[in-house]
Assembly symmetry: C3
Homo-oligomer: 200 residues x 3
């Protein structure tokens, strides 16, 4: 099954890009946006925060996680709907597949969000567990969870499983892109090729 | 995303606890219930049996598996709806993620049941394949399927995949808890911590 | 949970059989059909092509992949609905779980198709990565993607994950059948046993 030009022109591409902390996702997304004319990034968490401010639920981002879970779910849906309405061009949706909490791994892309977001492509950025761990250790202000190689492996496997299930329920194709240290350009190239094929 | 107190107070927590035969699930659930005030256990199969008796479909539990599959599915939904209506406190839902049969692995928690049950948390109890096998061999009246380490590993992986998909479709967080031989207290402690955080 | 005779008689069995390229799926399906009286095969891609010809969208099969993705999705649903209407007997649905493209792995059995197809059983044919690779290398007209053992392993794992998620959303039981070189009879026997049990 191939993409046709109608989808790209009339409703645009919504490429959901996820990856566990430390895979170098941001770099790959930045490089992809730089290279694709008319493309942009929607950071899911930021869209949720904007919606929360409009509803006068919060003033500061820190207050977000104290909101009742039902309200957070409503913000997720509002953010997803807003992104799904963006017309034309290529929108990279930068989001979390799951969030590690004391209550377990919270799904960041549950079925209700997928239904509202209507992604056209799902991309999982991956990396070697050792490189992931070393990135996390070198930036402890950004990455609070310092884990073992085994725990990182669990997260990598869980990410594949979650995104595969997301592909099955959404019908969108799924890509696993390996991001090698210092080779983010190569990872971005896989995304450029994907977009070029979707535009055919 | 964190739980807020409203959910716990107004509609309670429904913590689905699953695990393949021989991981020591019952012990972990018992210890959790003992330690959490106002908590209780709903055994899914028992609720299905109670519903079947009320409908006068069966008199004995053995007759359950001879019911037409459509009737069994209806019983699953009735049981799930009944459990989802329980108000307040913490209900541990003790159920099977899948059942090994000659027709394949039957999902015990399919989408239709998840929709009716509305779980707030999903917990998978795991253990080392060797400990699982040794428990199965030491209790052959309870565990009829004596398998190889490889088959147990398949079941463990399948359990993670099924419950991850359940998390994605339900939006509930998922926890993998390793139950070490003789350390069920530690496994229960992870659950107590989860409930404490959900109540925040 | 066991199958009852009502399902087999009134609405028939729809056994979806999938497997990555080179596992020997066709042989196993042929042997199963030969052995089961009143059984038949529905090739999903052929049903889609027949629907496309009726709608005068294409004349040749090659044109199928150039159709807009929305039209392809509509053909998927038409094919699934047609197969789900087939009454009585056993229908083996021969389809692809995913298709490797430059846009990623396209799901061949997304939720929308599962809902329309209403499978009663899901079967994944598997084989050793080495045997799969050797089959692909020996038939390069049929298999265009020659991959590494690692890539074949990724496909095998992805297939398990996709079909497990399909089982969860459909409620149908899932079987993993290992097809050993020259032992397709044994693999078919597992299917015969499944059908015999479903008819009980």
């Amino acid at each position: 099954m191939r993409e046709s030009s109608d989808r790209r022109e009339s409703m645009g591409l919504r490429i959901v890009v996820v990856g566990i902390a430390g895979v170098g996702k941001s770099t790959v997304v930045s490089k992809s946006v730089e290279a694709i004319k008319g493309s942009s990034v929607a950071v899911f968490g930021t869209e949720m925060f904007e919606a929360a401010k409009k509803l006068k639920w919060v003033k500061h981002r820190d207050e977000m996680r104290k909101l009742p879970v039902e309200n957070q779910k409503r913000l997720q849906r509002i953010a997803a709907q807003k992104i799904s309405r963006s017309r034309g061009g290529v929108v990279f949706v930068d989001t979390h597949l799951f969030i590690r909490t004391p209550e377990g791994f919270w799904p960041g892309l549950p079925y209700s969000v997928i239904e509202a977001l209507k992604p056209t492509h799902l991309v999982l950025i991956e990396a070697d567990p050792e490189e992931i761990l070393s990135r996390r250790k070198n930036d402890t202000t950004r990455y609070r969870d310092i884990l073992t190689t085994e725990e990182v492996q669990t997260e990598l496997t869980l990410a594949r499983t979650f995104l595969s299930a997301a592909s099955l329920v959404s019908g969108a194709p799924i890509s696993f892109i390996h991001n090698r240290e210092g080779k983010a350009d190569e990872a971005a190239r896989v995304i450029l090729n994907m977009v070029a094929n979707a535009a055919k």
